[in-house]
Subunit: 121 residues, 2 copies
DNA sequence: GGACGGACCTACTTTTTGGTAAGCCCTGTT
DNA sequence: AACAGGGCTTACCAAAAAGTAGGTCCGTCC
């Protein structure tokens, strides 16, 4: 048992995953990993089915956890840019691995993602 | 969007994480990764706070997903043994990574897990 | 024969998470 | 002036996940 910031964790793995639990965090992370800098609406449009409530909520939590950084690139018309922060970048190996794993798994189950991806989206 | 077995996924990463979502699955996986073969009560006793409901529920789902295998090692007194199955073993790199990441993160925040772990449990 | 431990299962409640729909402020466009 | 974005927020509700508190069925041990 590890006590840390008001929560208790079973082990370090528990600590690590506490950062990315939730349906959308890994997806946002992987999106930013791929595109480096993205606006709010770009992220939203790339994650079909996410609601704005969820998106802004997760972005906030991830910012607080230093997984991502938000930069105001213009204030006259208010425009922002999200990118990976240090903690977020540190998760890249997991993103890479999970992506490959998923592609392999899908292939083993009759779906060729790399070949078919133009069909989706 | 990927349609697969009645669910839809945003991308392969989404597919991968669908196997290990839930508070306990990674922890069970990492436990089996460390100990190879464990009985029901050994797993339970190593995951403080897990309820038996949660444990047996997750074990069942993980068995169905071929993350783990259950073997009946004795039926006179009914005894079982859980171990990683092929899909589960394939997650080992994530376990390793997440463990190291967590330890590093804790250290950066003033907790030396490796040094202090005898204090817990 | 009674207590104990292993390996579960079940009904019920609570908590957490996620979804819906609407609205706000600002600016650029027509 | 009206509308279309962009970047959000909020109140309210539904669904899903997890916790609680039991119980069952063996079989071994004292």
């Amino acid at each position: 048992m590890i006590a840390f910031k008001g929560r208790t964790y079973t082990c370090p793995i528990d600590v690590t995953f506490s950062f990315i639990n939730g349906k959308w965090k890994v997806l946002i992370l992987s999106h930013l990993y791929r595109y480096k800098k993205r606006s709010y609406s770009e992220i939203r449009d790339n994650l079909p089915r996410i609601s704005e409530k969820m998106l802004s909520q997760q972005l906030k939590e991830m910012e607080a956890d230093e997984l991502i950084v938000k930069k105001t690139i213009s204030s006259k018309p208010y425009r922002v840019e999200y990118a990976l922060a240090k903690n977020g970048k540190a998760f890249s190996p997991i993103m890479e691995f999970a992506s490959k794993w998923g592609i392999r798994y899908l292939k083993a189950n009759g779906i060729d993602y790399l070949k078919d991806q133009e069909l989706y989206k």
